[in-house]
Subunit: 502 residues, 2 copies
């Protein structure tokens, strides 16, 4: 009886994850290589698949099976119990949404993607506004279904990081700002004293050479290219489509090799998490990543704690110069690292330094609060964005492509998502501090060129656990401490004091 | 009542085609860009999707709906009636097969693909034999389910081209051989008299330049690259995944630019058919290609009747020489065409000339007959292949990669498929003869560089009709004559007499 019940549960769970894997695949294709005229039909297919998946997760029979297993949850082993608990959350989230809403959202965002790309290319917010309005209206409807009449922005925040609300984020962000703003101020004043370092003015970095350098770094980090791909897209992302099929993407700027390099290190960090999830638990929660915040900690740790160090450049600089022999021969690892860590308020979040990055996030958080708590009209978003940006960063946004059109997230309805990026930064610093306790000086490991101990530590402490523990418990198990912003603040203060001689 | 019935039919038909489109998409990905380690999981996903599609097409409710509509078929318009008739055939084909067989076949062929690729690379038939054995066993089981106790190879032939059996093919092939063999003999004797033309010995043709030349030709033919893609694979193919999404593939040989060029022209011919199907009937039979033979007529017409002519080379030679400036300046269109039409018994079917190509097909037809009519053991296939090849072509097969491992078809269970290639050649010649009647001299149109009248004629006579007419009726409507081998024999005799001065 229990066996038949378990089998019924496994079949339904597996089918749902399989459908989601197929959706991810068609969405990856849509964002990387799909022909332009396929957009409408692809939108319909993704919408149909979303409806199919929704039918699976909301099927009464699945709900019954989960209820029966919940009654016996003490008799289940940890893996099975994890699957039952996580599927319950998925069912609850889904059953509250009518299938028509889910399908309409999928259809709207699928078409909005192309509109957003065109609007961004033309730097014309008005082009994108009608799509965004539809997405916000549907998101507000979603909030009502999920949270009832008292629904607020918390509903969206919790959806992306279990248990986090405005009551958690508001003081956390205030605390961060309190120590970050004086640090930024000190750096800006120190910079004014010395000439800024940069790569030779006007130098071009061929895409093919950037690509092969980035593949070299990604492979060195441990990305398995026989179980994944690297492709080109507008907005870099990582998608774990299936066992043995993790796909990362990047973009190329011929005048700036750092943009692509750190995007690839970032996405490779995500990709290593996906490749490190336990294959034997594929197609169930036990084998999935637990949260966006934890995912982001993996990407940020590789991108910043490892990639933006002098030790990293000591290892890779020779290869970099082989690709780009026109670089000055006396350009050293120390200088490369200074350039890679230049702190400077700039317009694009994904290219921001580690100090201002969190200001970008906090600004988006405030604007989303205005949209969902204060009904900010869509047409006013550019003005609010630009005004706030001038206040926080001290520079004027020249056009919307460098402002409120820069991020893909809103085009697919991901409101409440941005704050998880800052969580990722905090977790990454906390994990790497503990890694030093366990493995010894991180710079020495990086400088050795053999980074496998780092990956092995992350595999053991994070990747192998899948969805077994909630994010905060996972961090506490890995580091011995509950999540805290202190390691991140200690890290940036120490790092930038050294770089800028504060 | 009728309206509700029609809606029910439309929904179920559409869902089935949508699932099939998704299967084609994941299969395209598998053959072009999938990471190696994804093979097992992809096989399982394709198998699951095959099962889902099978469940859709065999659902009793669909069968009932179709029966009810069949009872009123005289009241339906031509499009709706076409959909009902074609869905009936699909249902009948599918309901005879148990879902377990369909899933097992999908799973086996998905894994066999990689095995075949490895075996072909290693030229080791024994590596592939166990997979092929499984596929043949499953195909024999399929024959029994479809045709009952008296099932024979006819069941497989009919599956790929409606209504065609051994009783049709045997005399047709005998008739072809009767005039082709003397022609081949005359050509071989004439060749011995004069030195063979060829491109400069040892010259290399960079892949990037071949690629851009092929894209130029494909676009000139009318392929819409905003509604399709060109990618690289082991075995060139075309797949119409959805409206606005037709994908063709090719392969590159740096020492032979013709191999890639004619593969691209061939696949573009298929792609133009897919792009020319009526979008308003997407996701139903009315908007699908009618048969493999008709599909092949489109690819062969562009590849041979248009691409292998002096007129074609007069139009494209300047561009070709821009890509490859090391070519001798005095190499003219006439010479290029002579090289492109060199008749010479060779090992690889897809690179064969128009005379020997049909001998390749007839040989595979004979071997498949031995497998299914005489239970030829798998282990003996290479020996039978090589012996027959020596007899028919007068040359010894040096290894299996140039012999029985060269084609992808058996690795996915496509037995009975090959003869449709020769049908394609016959239809192509018949269509182009009629095109001359309607449009005037074909060489003149080709030489003008504006090939749109050719595409427009094919759109009107073939593409726009989808599955409205059976293949032979479609040919008769387009040409005024039932299908016949005479136009093809007239065409090759005239063409090669001119080229070789027979």
């Amino acid at each position: 009886m229990r066996q038949a019940l378990q089998q019924e549960f496994d079949d339904r769970m597996t089918n749902w994850y399989r459908l989601n894997g197929i959706r991810s695949h068609l969405s990856w294709d849509q964002q990387t290589i799909m022909p332009e005229k396929a957009a409408l039909g692809r939108g319909q297919t993704l919408s149909w698949l979303a409806g199919q998946a929704h039918n699976h997760i909301t099927d009464d029979k699945l709900g019954e099976v989960v209820s029966l297993l919940e009654a016996e949850i003490r008799d289940l082993d940890d893996d099975d119990a994890c699957n039952v608990r996580r599927m319950r959350r998925e069912i609850d989230l889904a059953t509250k949404l009518p299938v028509e809403l889910v399908e309409e959202m999928a259809s709207v965002v699928s078409q909005a993607r192309q509109v957003w790309q065109d609007a961004r290319a033309a730097s014309d917010f008005a082009m994108f506004a009608p799509s965004l309005q539809k997405i916000i209206d549907l998101t507000k409807a979603k909030m009502q279904y999920l949270g009832g009449d008292s629904a607020n922005y918390d509903v969206l925040l919790d959806e992306y990081e279990i248990g986090m609300t405005m009551a958690d984020y508001d003081p956390l962000f205030a605390g961060l700002r309190e120590r970050l703003v004086p640090l930024l101020d000190k750096i800006m004043r120190s910079q004014r004293k010395k000439p800024e370092l940069s790569l030779p003015e006007g130098m071009q970095f061929a895409i093919a050479d950037q690509d092969s350098f980035c593949r070299f770094v990604s492979a060195r980090m441990g990305f398995d290219f026989t179980a994944g791909r690297l492709d080109t897209t507008t907005h870099p992302f990582c998608s774990g489509l299936a066992v043995g099929d993790t796909r990362i993407t990047t973009r190329y700027d011929e005048s700036d090799p750092f943009s692509c390099l750190y995007a690839v290190m970032h996405e490779t960090g995500h990709g290593l998490y996906e490749q490190g999830l336990p294959d034997q638990h594929a197609l169930c929660p036990r084998g999935q990543a637990i949260s966006l915040g934890i995912h982001e900690s993996q990407s940020r740790l590789w991108e910043n704690q490892i990639g933006r160090t002098t030790a990293f450049w000591q290892v890779v600089l020779d290869t970099f110069k082989e690709k780009f022999p026109e670089l000055p021969p006396d350009l050293g690892a120390e200088e490369m690292n200074r350039i890679a860590n230049a702190v400077k308020p700039s317009f694009i979040r994904v290219e921001a330094d580690e100090i201002t990055y969190n200001l970008h996030i906090m600004m988006r958080y405030e604007i989303e609060k205005k949209i969902f708590e204060e009904d900010l009209p869509v047409a006013e978003i550019p003005e609010v964005w630009n005004t706030m940006f001038a206040q926080w960063f001290g520079i004027e946004v020249p056009d919307d492509s460098l402002g409120c059109l820069q991020d893909v997230h809103w085009s697919y309805g991901a409101f409440g998502y941005f704050p998880t990026y800052t969580l990722g930064n905090l977790y990454a610093a906390q994990l790497s501090a503990k890694m030093v306790d366990d493995l010894g000086d991180l710079d020495e490991i990086i400088r050795s060129g053999d980074w496998s101990p780092i990956l092995a530590w992350l595999r053991e402490k994070i990747h192998s656990h899948g969805m077994l523990y909630d994010p905060s418990e996972l961090i506490e198990r890995a580091t011995g401490q509950p999540p805290s912003p202190e390691p991140f603040l200690d890290y940036v203060e120490k790092k930038y004091s050294r770089i800028y001689g504060l």
